[in-house]
């Protein structure tokens, strides 16, 4: 495979940045969610939640 180094850096950094950003989103969400009462996180109400 030609230019493997460049390809690995390009793909690696891109997927890495996307992955890290996704992780940071999930973590930010969890930290914040712990400070908000469950009944105000409206997307969390599913069928399994006892009303």
């Amino acid at each position: 495979m030609t230019d493997l180094g460049y390809l690995l850096v390009g793909w690696g950094v891109s997927l890495g940045v996307i992955g890290l950003y996704s992780l940071s989103l999930v973590r930010r969400g969890r930290t914040l969610a712990s400070r908000v009462p469950a009944d105000r996180r409206r997307w969390m109400t599913t069928e399994s939640d006892p009303k």
Partner: protein, 262 residues
């Protein structure tokens, strides 16, 4: 037993900003990304001229397209905020700007690496799309900077929306000016999708990549939206808590006074 397991997973994936929809979106996005690495590196054939360097296309082109999708969302959201004071759209605009800045950064990064391989240079000042994207990237970095000002959130939303508007309104001018400025020295290939030079497995992989990254972007936007929503809840919650505390204090003070008056 099975029942318990599913309940557990539901609770687990609902700890933060996740929901059933985003959970499956995330799963599809993750599996898709892994499949994309496989397709991009082992299934898609090397190009006749570019050899394996062509594999950069599977990241670079979807990133570029989604950058413009994201910034269009920001522009629409900015207008909706200024016009209708729509908090929903303002939140979308903010999230799309954040995702868009990341994607445009990656577009520029993968583009310059690809340029290094095929043109022999990381950066080409004569290139329209490169320079246009750079200017847009810088304007949107300014947008995010404005968002992080301390002070009233609604005021910052207005400030940011005006920047989003300036950015969007000036895009044609930026594009025109760079086109003329660099008319004789561009290295960028003509959009290879349009003139049909890409076909077969390469085309399939490119389309696959576009779909995968779109799903990932959607996942990010939903999560980002919910984070903003939670942030608003937290600040409102803090405010109402503080108000309750103050009121309780005042009431206690009044009680004491009446006591003393007796």
């Amino acid at each position: 037993m099975t029942k318990l397991m599913t309940d557990d997973t539901i609770i687990d994936r609902q700890r933060g900003t996740g929901s059933r929809t985003t959970f499956w979106l995330g799963v599809v996005g993750l599996v898709g990304a892994i499949a994309l690495v496989f397709l991009g590196f082992f299934v898609a054939p090397p190009d006749d001229f570019q050899k394996d360097a062509v594999r950069m296309i599977f990241i670079h082109v979807p990133m570029a397209i989604l950058t413009y999708v994201a910034f269009s969302l920001t522009a629409i959201g900015s207008v909706a905020w200024l016009w209708k004071r729509s908090i929903w759209w303002d939140t979308v605009a903010h999230g799309a700007a954040e995702v868009g800045v990341m994607f445009s950064g990656l577009t520029l990064f993968t583009g310059s690496i690809w340029g290094r391989i095929t043109w022999g240079t990381y950066w080409d000042w004569g290139d329209v799309r490169l320079v246009t994207t750079l200017i847009l990237f810088l304007i949107m970095v300014g947008y995010l900077a404005v968002r992080s000002f301390d002070g009233d959130e609604a005021v910052n939303a207005t400030r940011a929306a005006v920047i989003g508007l300036i950015g969007a309104a000036n895009m044609p001018v930026v594009n025109r000016s760079v086109t003329w400025w660099s008319s004789r020295r561009t290295l960028h290939q003509k959009s290879s999708l349009v003139n049909g030079k890409i076909e077969g497995l390469t085309l399939f992989t490119l389309m696959f990549a576009l779909v995968v990254f779109s799903i990932i972007m959607l996942w990010m936007l939903i999560h980002r939206f919910r984070i903003s929503w939670l942030e608003r809840q937290v600040s409102e919650g803090d405010l109402s808590e503080a108000l309750t505390a103050r009121r309780a204090e005042a009431r206690a003070g009044m009680d004491r006074e009446t006591e003393e008056n007796k």
